[in-house]
Structure formats: structure tokens, C-alpha cells
């Protein structure tokens, strides 16, 4: 396990050098697993019954829980964007959980957290303009137009803080685990790291996922409502 985000390939697309990093490849692996799981559930869904039991119960409980969470945070009006938040919730959580198997968490790379934060920022602007129309743009110039730079910085700070919070937290877990594996003899690398993984990957991962998604939803809700 290394601290660096390794570059797997370098592609040259229209003369532009593109690094295909470990983060991107790991993201594809996670995406493939998640999409495969979704297809598996979709196939299973054909046999879903009126009264859920076993696996159906688990799936429905998960979806219902997320739906209620999104409904409480976003409200009925913005619920149509909940699939996006569902996807990033599942992706961030899976990133943390997959690092148990030695896969470097894509969220421990600023490219991932920055991308999701930019998406939140774009959603804030698009939905704010769509739902509040001119009032959203006007909010940048309140209480007086001279406050525009401050308001703009305040808005730009949101995706920055959002991305760095997740990135810092996930990277810290990666650094601690990397240091542990690098500095300790081989006989203490069996069994004991499971506690670190449980704490940094499962517990921290779940909490950071929840924080990232709920804050993103609140930013979008504040902008659009």
C-alpha cells in the first residue's frame, strides 16, 4: 500500500496527455461492482413479493432509508435529484469499504472529492436559478451589491470545504494505515490492522459519507428553496 496515487496509464487524447490514475481505475472497479449488484437486484426484483422477506427486506430497507433521508433534507420539491445523491452516497461508502480489501479509496484523492463538490456547486447554481429564478442571482448582491465579492467567496468556499473535508478525512485514514504497514514488522500486520480498517474505513467512511451527502443536500436545498 502506497501513499501516492499511482498513474496506471497515460493516454494521449487529441494531443492532450491524460493520466489514468489508480483513483480512476479503482472508481471503475467500484462502479462495475455497484452496477453489477444493481443489475442483480433488478433481476431479483422480478420475484419481489407484496410482503418483503429476507434479501428483499434488506434492499427495500436500504432504499427506503435513503429516500427518507433525502426527503427530510431536500424536501419533496427537490426529491427528483435524489438518484444523484444516492449514487454518490453509495460510491463514497463503497470507496471506504473497498479499501478494506487493499483498494486505495478513490475518495482519498482530491480529484474525486473535488469532482463531487463541483457537482454540488453546479447543482446549487442550476437548481437555484431554476427554482428561485432571479432571486437566486440577486442573493449574491444582498444586502448591498458591494457584498458581491464576499457572497461569491462564501459560495465558492462551500465546494472547497466540502471536497477538502472528505479528502482530508479519507487521506488521513490511508496515511495512518500506510504508515502502520510500512513501519511495523510482518507478524503484527495480521489481525491487528482489522481494527484500524474497521475504524478508518468502515466507521469513519460511513460518517464521512453521511456528512458529505447531507451537507451537499443542504447546500442545494438552501440555494433552491
Amino acid at each position: 500500500m502506497s501513499l501516492n496515487v499511482d498513474n496506471i496509464w497515460v493516454w494521449n487524447i487529441f494531443g492532450v496527455e491524460v493520466w489514468i490514475t489508480e483513483t480512476i481505475v479503482n472508481s471503475w472497479i467500484i462502479m462495475a461492482v455497484l452496477i453489477a449488484l444493481a443489475i442483480f437486484i433488478r433481476i431479483k426484483m422480478r420475484k419481489f413479493k407484496e410482503i418483503p422477506t429476507g434479501f428483499q427486506n434488506l434492499v427495500e430497507a436500504g432504499i427506503e432509508m435513503f429516500h427518507n433521508f433525502a426527503k427530510n433534507t431536500l424536501g419533496e420539491k427537490l426529491l427528483y435529484i435524489s438518484p444523484w445523491f444516492f449514487a454518490i452516497f453509495v460510491f463514497i461508502l463503497s470507496s471506504s469499504l473497498f479499501s478494506i480489501f487493499g483498494l486505495r479509496a478513490p475518495t482519498a484523492d482530491f480529484a474525486t472529492t473535488g469532482a463531487f463538490a463541483i457537482a454540488t456547486f453546479v447543482l446549487m447554481i442550476v437548481l437555484g436559478t431554476r427554482h428561485k429564478k432571479g432571486a437566486y442571482i440577486k442573493s449574491y448582491f444582498e444586502p448591498h451589491f458591494i457584498f458581491f465579492p464576499l457572497n461569491l467567496i462564501g459560495e465558492l468556499a462551500k465546494p472547497v470545504s466540502l471536497s477538502f473535508r472528505l479528502f482530508g478525512n479519507m487521506l488521513s485514514g490511508t496515511i495512518i494505515l500506510t504508515l502502520y504497514y510500512s513501519l511495523t514488522p510482518i507478524f503484527v500486520q495480521i489481525g491487528i490492522p482489522a481494527f484500524f480498517h474497521a475504524f478508518f474505513d468502515v466507521f469513519f467512511g460511513a460518517i464521512q459519507t453521511y456528512i458529505f451527502v447531507i451537507i451537499s443536500q443542504m447546500y442545494v436545498k438552501t440555494a433552491a428553496d
Binding site: L3, N7, W9, R42, I63, A87, F91, A115, F116, A119
Partner: protein
Amino acid sequence: MHNMILYLAEAAPEGRVFGLDQQTLISMLIQLLNGVILAVALGFILYKPLRNFMQKRTDRIQGKIDNVEATMAKAKELIAEYNEKLSQIEITSQEIIEEARQKAAEESRAIIESAKQEAQEIRARTLESIEDDKRRLKEEARLYIIELAFLIAQKYVAQNIDEETQDRLFEEAVTELEEAQWQH
């Protein structure tokens, strides 16, 4: 397209933890695209169909609950209606009983009145009959006394006076007797 994408595995630069440059921006764009692809895929394959399935079931159950509630409301309405009818019947029966009671009381009063009247009539008739009997008995007694007096006088006169005087005396005696004793 294939020619444009060059696989440069050998020339891959050293990895890094963090950097703010063009490559980070490109990686961010790729990750953003990955996120959008994942959102679309999960949304269409899993999230929306499952939500629709659950929503339809919720609607079905809600429909059944609404149906049951409507039936319950209707049943309650019917119960209230029947209770109203029952209380109405109770009131009507009370009225009928009261009316019958009043009628019976009136009838009994009329019967008693009629019985009293009849008793009065019987009494009056009885008194009248007693009066008649009294009169008849008095008459009979008077005639008997007259007859008795006549016999006594006849015997007395037979011994003392002739037949002509006897008749005259008899006539005078009878007249006096009639006037004196049976006038009132």
C-alpha cells in the same frame, strides 16, 4: 479513434498524493463523468424502479386502507342512522303506550261514571218501588182496618140498632175515617 488514444504505460509518470494542476482537473472531469454515469445507471437500473415498485405497493395498501376507512365511515353512518331509528321507534312506542294509557283511563272513567249513573238509577227505582210498596201496604192496611172496624161495628150495631141507622152510621164513620186518618 484508436490511433488517437495512445497507450503509454511505459511512460507513466510518478504518482503523487495531491496536486493542483491540469492533470487534477482532467481527473476531476473523468471522476465527474464517472459519477454521472454511475448516477444514471443506478438511477435507471435500481433506484427508480425499486422506488416505483415500493410506491405502487404503498399506493395499493393506502388504497385498501382508504377503502376500509370509507367502509368503516359508512358502517358508522348506518349505525348512527339505525340508532336514530331505534330511538325514534322508542319514542313512538312510548307515545303509543301513553296514548293507550290515557285512552284506558278515559274509558275506565267513563265506565265508572256509567256504573255510578246506573247505580243511581237502580237506587232511584228501588226507592220508588219502596214508596209504591209502602203506599200499597198502607192502602191494604186501611182497607183491612176499615173492614175490621166494619165487622166490629156490624156486630155492635146488630146488637143495638136497626139496619137503617146502622148503614147511616157506617157511612158517617167511613167518611170521618177517610177524612181524619188517610188524608195525608
